[in-house]
Amino acid sequence: MEKRSSAELLNIEQNNSKNASSDSLNSDSKSSSLNSKMGQESESWDKASHSKSFSSSSTSTDNNIVSALEARKDNQVKNLSAGETGPPLLNGERVQGIAHEVTYVCPYSGPVRGILSITNYKLHFRSVDRETPYVVEVPLGVVSRIEKVGGASSKGENSYGIEVFCKDMRNLRFAHKQENHSRRDVFEKLQQYSFPLSHKLPLFAFEYSETFAENGWNVYEPIAELKRMGVNNDMWKISKINDTYSICDSYPAVWAVPAAATDEDLQASAAFRSRGRLPVLSWIHPESQATITRCAQPLVGVGGKRSREDERYVQLIMDANAQSHKLFIMDARPMPNAVANKAKGGGYESEDAYQNAELVFLDIHNIHVMRESLRKLKELCFPTIDEARWLSGIESTVWLKHIKYVLAGALRIVDKVENHKTSVLVHCSDGWDRTAQLTALAMLMLDPYYRTIKGFEVLIEKEWLSFGHKFQQRIGHGDEHHSDADRSPVFLQFMDCVWQISRQFPNAFEFNEHFLITILDHLYSCRFGTFLFSSERERVQEQVKHKTVSLWSYTNSQLSLYQNPLYWAAPNYQLVLMPIASMRYIKPWKSLYCRWNPSMRQQDPVYQRTRELLVLKEQLEKQLEEGRREQASRASRSMTSPAPPRIHSPVHS
């Protein structure tokens, strides 16, 4: 109860003593894909498998996922609960406001009466008048915009209240009693803690203090990753020229460049590239030495400026691959956009200036187009879908077409590197949005390492975080300017592409869909430091590694939740993935975009069934091993004891 006194109580009323059970709209780890898979039956399924989990407690099965989750939840409820009616709390989380007699207007099951609590991390609603408590929990980082609905004199039931617009494709509507400004306090707390940066408050990640068995900040070691790819070698070297972020403030401190390039070359090239983002190594083919390098657009401008040094430097990149006398420059943009950039001092490489280079435009649109496309997709998917026009509706959002172009672009890179042993240089305008999508996807297709759980974390750390994808601006962490033109679902689009590939190659990934959705949930949640800020420089400056917890600490401490039972890591099996970028295969990611709609939830019995088979196999192996051991010990005993009487004659055996 002491937590309560610090909170501001509105309409004190105690009529609820039931323990909350997690509901499907709960947005913590239990929500997302797990629940969406189990669908409406999740409750009964939970019960059924819960009893099962006692018999096979040491194995990695669905049962264990559930029991692990149950255990976690129990912990939270026991240790961290803020009194009987308050929400379960994380370490560092405090209740900031509670409103009673609030109605959550669920778009699917109708209005529910209950208690709404606001903490410095989340909003938490729990029903009071239902048999099994109905819980809605949303980390405030997910909130994009909050609006008051109706006034004190509005007519009609539930017309007065608050509407919360979320970054994860849903809106929540709460109705308050039309008296005493009952919504004012909650509204203010919501504003403050959803947009802490706009209210001079810290992001929750800096207050969160849980410890995990694994330290996720150790997952990515730039030098170790370069060494894994064989750098340093004859052709490529590690450069620390940027260790104070003086050459390029949005690049990491460590990168690899052609061994033949001098520091002067690097400086000169940086001077000719937008924001100093010169071409550096993303990936190197272990056999052919063909590379993927990334950069920003050259500063050509309307006058058609050239830089001999940059041209020479690009030539060095080509020369570092002895297998080919050609270099492909993949410009992610549509050609008209690249041309238009000349007016702003940017542009693209002319094939005259860059000898032996072939320029290809990949026709991927900019962040504004993508934002608009996702907005339409949200309109289509939430709250309900129009059954009769679902397919044409999907088409009209153009979201899948953008996915197709990103995938097709990455495929062209893979084709050049893998099938033609030719190096590829990738850029867009600034080289931190479309470029990151393309290089990361191409690397995912080319290198099975990035398809493991830890490898995928490394991929995100390297291609997205260290190379300065502007997460702060694209997501708008803790910022109230919801219509900021810098916001864009570029990373979400990348994750969608990963999901598309995993649908075409169901055995190729160590992680499951739940892993992808968990990452996306915490992209917004601000619980972990991983996706905060826009560059490595800023993160070092803000001491993110010391002051916050890494998302990978959380995920790597419960790996079994994210493992794909179909993962098949046989040698030489599915080394390089070449997905088909056709609309006939590209599908809406329903378990993400439509996950709040109960009628869209599908089970995933393939996973369940495969897990059962895996468990069975494991048990049989154990049984066989035990049998062998027993036999061996019996045999060794018989060495010392007289030979046992012969049961069969040799003739009959």
């Binding site: 018999s55 026009r389 179909l566 997905p579 088909i580 609309m583 599908q602 495969t610 059962e612």
Partner: protein, 638 residues
């Protein structure tokens, strides 16, 4: 390629078969002078030399040269190109090769003269200068041939013959009547054909355990000689479309029945007979509850389904790569426009509705036209949802026999075997198979068969050698089989060994299948999601002939492959633990499984790199049994 097509993988079973039957596959085939393999009774008609065959959905620039021939059974392309077709692991049919098309499978023929392309209909005059032809098959495979380098007249000759033989005007012109091969049925007795009364009797007993309830239904032999001629039933029948009285399909444990019933004939204005039948169904109910009538004729019809499919088919059989990518640009709205998925959704929805009524203990009457089209789809789906017996292979085949074959679905008309102006062609069977595929996707552990089985079944519907799908009703079948002059040998399509070896039949077997105990009291009811947004496109069946869509070394079939290997490991472990010393590659029950497969395997038309294969147990019974036993390990407490 033809001459060596019959055996590409090492199969112990195959070897054994050869040992037992030294004639091997040559038993069936003889080589004619034109290097074409002919079945007994098959005769060569004509050929065209130096024909170019383009690979499907390509840019139509490069082709393979060969001889294109027409027989009274198939269209066949023989190439001298040695590299084509070797060491490709794919389904092998004993009756026709990979480069053959059964004539009954041909849907449309387009001819190019100059720069113009037009559809050729039977009876049309074939132009003298044929530049090329484009053929679309009923199973959506496409063929594109050019006669650019052929001797003058070859193209025209071939096309005339093709037009004549591919669209026969009389039933006894189907190849099944000419096929001379002796038939020794190896059909599993568990597949019940519902041709004699005992099958019906057993089905009544199986579904209605309670004798008290059972007596409400009687088996009628009125129609034994297919001539309705007595009593009230007959009187009633006359008033329904197609002279068909309502018939019982299935009953649940509480005695609620599922009944298929035609609408009254349009000429009958008096609804008395319909009401008598409703009353009879009501009386059949243990509590005399009135039945629920589901009308299956609103917003859907045999004709609308045909239109939907023909639109949908054009999305699955683009003529060239340019058209393919054009379609890709707005594929989603194109699919929506066809309404195909809408109809799949409709059938599933009606089935779920019927299940809900039956669950409440109410009898359900499905009513539609003659009661032989959508009634067949919905009644079969209802039974698949409610009765796990029908989800195993033999049960599924028995269900098709009961509801479709014995139920009088006019296969000959609907599949378009005979070119007749009055017959209404419409792929009702495919619509049903698509619905079943959707169920299979949503409940992959509930079905004993794979999507490969369903796709193969659709292919088999166009092989006129089997009697199962070539007649409009039982009466026609009996007449053909007992024709004193030229009796048709009845070969059931369910006798899969007539078409495939053990290797290929193995792929019908779903490794994720988790059968429920046969005696379990509780019926495992499945409840599918049926909204269009929850449906998927059956890419194996619809896209398998489009090489652009083949995922190299990937695809959903890798799930099945992985599960097959996993289950194999489990079985081998079981055997080791039980002290069963026989080697896992024991001849009697082992096959090999291809590991590096592409997404359309076993229908791939692209060559895979290195095919790696691993031995695997074949006997599904053994596997299922041991799995069942082992299953208890999971739930058992230590």
């Amino acid at each position: 390629m033809e001459s060596k097509s019959c055996n590409n993988f090492i199969s112990y079973v195959e070897l054994e078969e050869h040992e037992m039957q030294p004639l091997g596959s040559s038993r069936r085939n003889s080589l004619s002078e034109n290097n074409i393999k002919l079945l007994p009774g098959e005769s060569f008609v004509t050929k065209a030399q130096n024909v170019l065959m383009f690979s499907p959905v390509s840019d139509l620039n490069q082709g393979t040269s060969g001889i294109l021939s027409v027989t009274n059974f198939k269209l066949t392309f023989v190439t001298t190109d040695e590299t084509n077709g070797d060491d490709v692991a794919r389904q092998q049919n004993h009756l026709y090769g990979y480069m053959d098309t059964c004539l009954t499978n041909i849907e449309d023929i387009y001819v190019t003269v100059g720069d113009k392309k037009r559809k050729l209909l039977p009876g049309n005059i074939v132009p003298s200068k044929v530049k090329g032809i484009f053929i679309i098959c009923k199973n959506l495979r496409t063929w594109s041939f050019s006669f650019k380098f052929s001797p003058i007249g070859d193209g025209k000759n071939l096309l005339q013959a093709l037009l004549h033989y591919a669209f026969p005007s009389k039933h006894d012109l189907l190849f099944g009547y000419d096929y001379q091969e002796a038939y020794y049925s190896s059909l599993d007795k568990a597949v019940r054909l519902f041709r004699d009364i005992s099958d019906w009797h057993n089905e009544l007993e199986r579904t209605i355990r309670n004798e008290k309830f059972r007596k409400f239904w009687r088996l009628s032999t009125v129609n034994v000689d297919f001539k309705l001629c007595r009593s009230q039933l007959i009187d009633a029948a006359k008033r329904f479309q197609g002279n068909r009285p309502p018939i019982w399909s299935w009953s649940n444990a509480r005695g609620a029945a599922l009944v298929k019933m035609p609408e009254l004939s349009p000429l009958v204005t008096n609804r008395i007979q319909e009401n008598i039948m409703f009353e009879n169904v009501r009386k059949s109910h243990p509590q005399k509850m009135p039945p629920v009538v589901l009308e299956l004729n609103k917003g859907i019809s045999v004709k609308l389904i045909a239109i939907a499919f023909s639109k949908f088919a054009s999305l699955c059989s683009p003529e060239n790569i340019r058209q393919f990518w054009l379609q890709d640009n707005n594929f989603y709205s194109l699919v929506e426009n066809t309404k195909w998925l809408k109809y799949v959704s409709y059938c599933l929805q009606k089935a779920v509705e019927a299940c809900e009524h039956l669950h409440l203990g109410l009898s359900v009457i499905l009513q539609e036209g003659a009661g032989t089209d959508l009634c067949c789809i919905v009644s079969s789906l209802v039974q698949l949802l409610l009765d796990p017996y029908f989800r195993n292979i033999n049960g599924f085949q028995s269900l098709l026999q009961k509801e479709w074959v014995a139920g009088g679905h006019p296969f000959c008309d609907r599949l378009g075997h005979i070119c007749k102006r009055t017959s209404e062609k419409s792929p009702l069977l495919l619509l049903y198979l698509d619905c079943v595929w959707q169920l299979n996707q949503q409940f992959p552990a509930e079905f004993e068969f794979t999507e490969t089985y369903l796709t193969t079944l659709w292919d088999a519907a166009h092989v006129s050698i089997f009697d199962t799908f070539i007649f409009n009703c039982e009466k026609e079948r009996v007449a053909a089989a007992t024709d004193p002059d030229r009796p048709l040998v009845l070969r059931s399509v369910w006798d899969w060994r007539e078409q495939f070896n053990e290797q290929d039949i193995l792929l019908f077997d779903n490794p994720l299948y988790n059968p429920h105990e046969a005696d379990s009291k509780e019926k495992h009811v499945i409840k599918p999601l049926y909204n269009v947004a929850n449906l998927e496109l059956w890419s194996q069946c619809y896209f398998r002939w489009i090489p652009t869509l083949e995922i190299h070394n990937g695809g959903q079939n890798h799930i099945e492959l992985y599960a097959r290997l996993l289950r194999n490991d489990v079985n081998q472990l079981k055997m080791s633990i039980n002290g069963n010393c026989c080697s896992p590659t024991d001849k009697s029950n082992s096959c090999s499984v291809q590991m590096n497969i592409d997404s359309f395997y076993p229908f791939s038309n692209r060559k895979s790199g290195n095919i790696v294969s691993t031995p695997i147990m074949n006997s599904s019974i053994l596997a299922t049994k041991s799995l069942l036993e082992a299953q208890s390990l999971i739930t058992a407490t230590d």
